[in-house]
Every structure is written in structure tokens, then in C-alpha cells.
């Protein structure tokens, strides 16, 4: 099983939703798909599911053109669309039965698959309830359940973590790992980048319809050349100020440039209102160790007691913000 996206472009009127997007995926790949709203993530996924037509380029699943082999490929793909609704008069079990029948499952196999997904997604207790009465989280589980029903080789998940509580997110992570371990290809988009970094073995960053980067998290860091991040945690609250670091003799210490991002009180966890944790983004190629004395000097001038000072590998969020100029995911 493989997926090949070859120079796929799609326009909605004058809006270029996708611009020559190419990538390929193999069994076991878990692709985290990120980009700002309107970047083309959902369009990519919907093309792959056969829900969007009128694009240029070609999409091959296991060597078959998705346009020419739609019926066959439907059986290999499971899709969790973003915010897809259900006819609310149905019960959970009835909805699964209908989707199972439409996917070609029959008889004892269908019954067994329904029981399996009800149990796996912890929906067994609400199987007889009408969808109308389900919470948002339960409905999201039902979206998962219908996608897993026919045991597809490819799973496409558009914002699958929306509406899930922490316990359900944990289950979701377990499920993704389990399916990936079985060789399934999984593509998912999410606004929760640290969860994505945790799950995906490949990351694709889409911006304004163009695929800016694709690779493993490590490959992306190296390719994009993002510098290390120095994290400064002070003992006292409300003490670190961004402009203090302007006074650091950057030239002399071979610290050509620093980007200073000061978290808000809420982000830094400081009830006193001021930031306690600051992150300094060093320019790519900068020796973090060499920067430390200059940073410590700036802190000492202002009598800041340090709790910790360390340099860390930039997160997916750092990469994303640097690449897209800070547009919301």
C-alpha cells in the first residue's frame, strides 16, 4: 500500500487552494499535516478521499489512479472529516450498520466489526442511544468508529482531536500507534502541535496552498536550519524584560542576533503576573554554549536569580511559527 500525490493543484474560483503539492507515503507512515486555516489541508484530504474533483496532477493509491478506481479505493480508505454531522434520528449502532453495509460488509462479519469498533472506541454503552443525545466527544468517537469499521489500510483524519477530552486524546494516541504498528498509512491534521510531534513520524507544513516542507521532525529541523532555543527560568516572578537582552554585547560574544519571545503570565504559569520563563531563539548555526555567558551577564546586571538556564531543540511549534511567520494553525 502506498500513496503518491503528484503535483496536485486545485482552485476554487480565483482561490488557489493547492499549488503543485507532491508527496508520497508508505506503510507505517504517520503524516502530521499542519498549516494555518485555509492552507489547503482539508482540500488535500478530501481529494485523497475522492470528495473533491476538478484538480490537476494525479493521486495514486497503491498504483491505482483514485479517479479511475474510486469504488475499489473507497474500501481501502477510512476518513474522519472535520465536523461531519450525522442524521440524528439514528442510534449509534444503526449508523454503524448503515456505513458498514455501504462499505460492503455483510452478515456476521459486519456484526463482529460493529462490536469491535464499539468496544475499541468505548461506545458500547451508548450503542442503542440516538445520536441526538450524544456529547461532542462521543460524536467524535463515532466518527472514528465509522472510519475504522471496514478496517481500512489508509486512515485520513481531519482535526481528529477536536472535542476530545484528555483521556480520549490518550486513547486516540494509543490507537494511532497501534494502527501505525500494523502498517496502516495515517494522515492527520491538528492544531495541537505537541501531540502531532509525539505521534507523527513525518510532518508536512502547508502554507497558502504550497507544501513548504515535508520530512521527519529531525529532518525538518536540519533542513530549515532552525537555531537552538535558550530557555531562561528565573526564581522570581515578574522580573524578566525583553529589552534587557538588547544590552548584551552581541558582536563581541559572537551572538549575531536573538529573537526574544516572552510568554504571557498565563503561559509561564506565574500567578504573580510577570514572566518567569523566557525563550531566546538563537540564529541558526550559533553556538548556544558560547551565548550563555552573555545571557548570564545580562541577567546578573539586573540581579535576576536563575532557576535554570538551558538550551533545547526547537519544537514543532517553533518550526511552524518560524516558517509561517506566526499564522494561527
Amino acid at each position: 500500500m502506498s500513496i503518491v500525490f503528484e503535483a496536485v493543484s486545485k482552485k476554487y474560483g480565483q482561490v488557489q487552494a493547492l499549488d503543485a503539492v507532491s508527496f508520497s507515503l508508505n506503510p507505517g507512515d504517520v503524516l502530521g499535516y499542519i498549516g494555518p486555516n485555509g492552507a489547503g489541508k482539508s482540500t488535500t484530504m478530501r481529494i485523497l478521499c475522492g470528495l473533491v474533483k476538478g484538480y490537476s496532477g494525479q493521486v495514486l493509491v497503491d498504483g491505482l489512479n483514485i479517479e479511475q478506481s474510486r469504488g475499489e479505493l473507497h474500501r481501502r480508505i477510512g476518513f474522519v472529516p472535520q465536523d461531519a454531522g450525522f442524521q440524528e434520528w439514528r442510534s449509534v449502532r444503526h449508523a454503524l450498520r448503515t456505513f458498514g453495509l455501504l462499505s460492503g460488509l455483510r452478515g456476521a462479519v459486519l456484526d463482529q466489526r460493529i462490536e469491535d469498533v464499539l468496544k475499541r472506541l468505548e461506545l458500547a454503552e451508548v450503542a442503542k442511544r440516538r445520536i441526538l443525545t450524544l456529547s461532542g466527544g462521543m460524536r467524535q468517537r463515532l466518527r472514528f468508529a465509522q472510519a475504522l469499521l471496514h478496517d481500512p489500510a489508509i486512515l485520513i483524519l481531519d482535526e481528529p482531536l477536536n472535542g476530545l477530552d484528555p483521556a480520549s486524546r490518550y486513547q486516540f494516541r494509543q490507537l494511532i500507534r497501534e494502527l501505525s504498528g500494523k502498517g496502516r498509512i495515517i494522515i492527520f491534521s491538528s492544531h495541537i502541535l505537541n501531540e502531532m510531534e509525539d505521534l507523527a513520524n513525518r510532518i508536512a507544513i502547508l502554507h497558502q496552498g504550497k507544501l513548504r516542507r515535508i520530512g521527519t521532525p529531525d529532518e525538518l529541523r536540519a533542513e530549515y536550519g532552525l537555531g537552538l532555543v535558550v530557555e531562561i527560568e528565573s526564581r522570581q516572578s515578574a522580573e524578566l524584560q525583553a529589552d534587557w537582552f538588547d544590552a548584551v554585547p552581541l558582536d563581541r560574544l559572537d551572538l549575531p542576533e536573538m529573537q526574544v519571545s516572552m510568554p504571557t503570565a498565563a503561559e509561564s504559569g506565574s500567578p504573580g503576573g510577570g514572566p518567569r520563563l523566557a525563550r531566546l531563539h538563537l540564529k541558526p548555526g550559533t553556538d548556544a554554549e558560547a551565548c550563555m555567558p552573555a545571557i548570564m551577564q545580562a541577567l546578573a546586571i539586573h540581579n535576576i536569580g536563575l532557576r535554570s538556564l538551558r538550551h533545547v531543540v526547537p519544537s514543532l511549534e517553533d518550526m511552524y511559527l518560524a516558517l509561517t511567520g506566526g499564522e494561527a494553525v
Partner: protein, 224 residues
Amino acid sequence: MKNSKSNFGILYRDELRGFFHSRVMLVLWIGLPLVSLFFQLLQPDVDGMPLLTFTALMIGSIGGTLSSVLMATTITGERVNKIYDLFLVRPVSRALLMLAKYFAALSCLFLAAVLALGLGLVVDLAKGLPSFSLLTQLLQPLALAMAAMAIASAVGLLFGVLFNSVAASAILSVYLGNQLSALAILPGLFFSERTALLLAVSGGILLPALILSVAIGIFRKKVL
């Protein structure tokens, strides 16, 4: 092809089940026989027209209006709530979805019309009128009612596909559905009984077919 046929059957039965849950259909199954009974008991002066034919016209009009609103609001609501995504990622075409919905609605309307006109027939039989001629006369009113309702339902489906506002699709389908369904009734005013029936049945098949073709063509191109 085999897949399409079997999936049509699944969707059709599924839609039937949905309509059984719908209060509008309950209103039709109970309300239309009551309308028929009302006319039988009241025996209004219908200017020489057979009472069952007059009842059929009323049933066609009421049933058509309710059905067109039901179709329009259901389809608009389901599109807006992205309900079709989960069907269309399976071997189900957009045309199949719409046709299953349309024929399921028509089946429910047929049942309502048979119940209503059948009740009229029973009342007539109770009055001791000859059953053979009544049975013959029942087919024409039934055909007229079904033709009117088939046209109105197709109009409802078209507006359901066209508009993203439930209110807009409901209002327009009430208005235009009713106007167009009169095309099935009009021949009765100008032609002989046999010709009028033929024209009504032809219109009840061809006009919905045309409207459905346009609606499905639009639905195929819609971004969901």
C-alpha cells in the same frame, strides 16, 4: 454496477426509516386520510367533479407542499451539517444519495395517498356504491395525486440542493412546488378524462425527471 444497485437499496431503506421517524410523514399518514374522510362526510359541491378526484387534488396539493418542504429543508440541513461526507467516502455517488431520498419520499407519499383515497373508497362502499366503477375511478385520482406530489417533491429536492439557507429553500419550495404541481392537475380542466390522465401521468414522470436531472447535475458540482 452491482454495488450501485445494492447501495441504492441500502440508502432507500435507510431513507424510508428516516422518513418514518419524521413527524411530517406522520402528519401525512394521519392527516391525509382525515382530509379524505372529511370530504366524504361533508359531500361538498365540487361542480360535477367526482368526489374522489377532488379529494385527490387536495391530497396532491397538501401532500406535495409538505413533501417539497420536507425534501428542501432536509437536504439543505444535511448539506450544511456535512452529513453527506460520511456517505460519499464510500461507494455511493451523489446521484444515488438524491435518488434514494426522492424515491423514499415518493413511497411514503404513495402510502399516504393510498390510505387517504382508500378510506374514501371504503366510505363509498359502505354507502353501497358499486365497487368495480369505484376501483376504476380510484386509479385516476391516485395517479393525479402522485403526479402532483412527484413534481412538488422534485422541486423541493432542487431547492434543497441549491440553497444553503433552510428558510430560503423551504419558502421557495412551498411556492414553486405548489405552482408547478398544478401542471399535473390542469389537463383535467381542458381535456377528456382519458387524455387528462395520460397528460398528468406523463407530466408526473417527465417533469420530475427533468428537475431531478438538473438538481443532480448541480449537486455533483457543489462543493460540500
